[in-house]
Symmetry: C2
Subunit: 242 residues, 2 copies
């Protein structure tokens, strides 16, 4: 006789709960991100974020509001119901735990984790996520500095200013990088602009020009407006303090 067969492989569902599809999970995440500042998420914003056509969004919004995950005000936009918000936060927790795990435990670059996590978040079990979180010591922030929702579904809400909005003369801690573009992230890492670093704002050129900052180690960096808008900072009473 030859080598043994592998197991029969019946399809494997995931959780109790209503069991969402990959697509639904993506839509919920989009709505969450788009409504985070309050207000409604519009059809076209969702469509753009998910790279689908607007009618696809309309159709999905109809289904999701029937299943009670979102509130749809026709021609206005949508918001998450508490149930939808819970599901969205669960996905975001998965995503950010995965990003953290891949960077800490498997040597991923912070620019590469997003794409990988984007696929895995739909396939991992709750159990696996909690094991990863445990192995990491229950991290509170992902590699980009974004807060990780708790297993209970709570997320830290902070008021952060972008570097572009911060007054010259202030000293800040770079808290979070609001981007997932690998090339930009790679560049930022090269420049030493990663979460946790302390920056003193030396100057800013007029007409949306670059901001000049000094790192703790004394080096200065010139940060263009496009990047400065992605660097979320928390003011500190530093030596140059305001």
């Amino acid at each position: 006789m030859n080598a043994p067969p592998n197991p029969p492989a019946p399809p494997a569902p995931r959780a109790p709960e209503p069991q969402l599809t990959r697509s639904v999970e993506d839509y919920l995440k989009s709505v969450f991100h788009l409504t985070n500042q309050g207000g409604f998420a519009t059809t076209s914003d969702i469509a753009e974020m998910l790279a689908v056509a607007p009618p696809s969004v309309s159709g999905m919004m109809k289904r999701l509001s029937e299943t009670g995950l979102i509130e749809h005000v026709p021609y206005r936009g949508v918001q998450l119901t508490p149930q939808g918000r819970r599901a969205a936060l669960q996905m975001i927790r998965r995503h950010r735990i995965l990003e953290s795990y891949l960077t800490s435990k498997l040597g991923y670059d912070w620019g590469d984790v997003h794409v990988e996590a984007e696929r895995l978040e739909h396939a991992v079990s709750e159990k696996l996520i909690e094991r990863m979180a445990d192995a990491l010591g229950e991290p509170r922030y992902d590699p980009h500095g974004a807060p990780i929702p708790t297993a209970a579904g709570e997320i830290e809400e902070t008021e952060l200013l972008t570097l572009a909005e911060t007054a010259v003369g202030a000293t800040v801690i770079l808290q979070e990088v609001g981007d997932e573009n690998p090339a930009r992230l790679h560049y930022l890492a090269e420049q030493g602009l990663t979460p946790g670093v302390r920056l003193s704002l030396i100057d800013r050129q007029p007409f949306n020009g670059p901001t000049i900052v000094r790192l703790d180690e004394g080096m200065t960096r010139v940060v263009g407006q496009e990047l400065a808008l992605l660097l979320f900072c928390r003011p500190v009473g530093g030596p140059d303090g305001e």
Copy 2:
């Protein structure tokens, strides 16, 4: 301003290659396992293994043979083409590396890894699998003793006998457990019947009765026919010789 938005999240494909769907990947794996002993995989065997109705299989076989992944002889069955075999082995590598990683690095029980790997294998990138394999030191066998195909697509082929087929008086090494049922695996682990253990066949009851074996530590175990058929063994010239 509030907390920063997460990135836009455009859908994320996986590899170069023709890009197979989850379903296709599952079908290819089934065909691989069913043809491993040579011959054709039949429609109904595939249907049973994947828990779908036979017509679904017929339909898929048609598509797969059009894309050149299988060879379909109507009313006879199917076999993998070299291309299909490559894809199947890639999936099996993913599956087995994942099982190994989950057990070694995240404390999973060998009975629980299958279901988790079954979902993840469709979502992981090649890169992630290779990082996991690397972190594990390029393992050659998964937790159940099944050989892991190499990244190049080669798999070890061994001729193993089940415990039920092995002659009384022989000494063998338990090489592989051909099962994925968590309850059975849990029981086997309790009994000390895990890959690598050495067993001496003391006796076997007639009429497909249980086999009695002695472990290295001297304990004896009574193994019923159902389980004995799942325990694949390699003979050794042990103290009790052949």
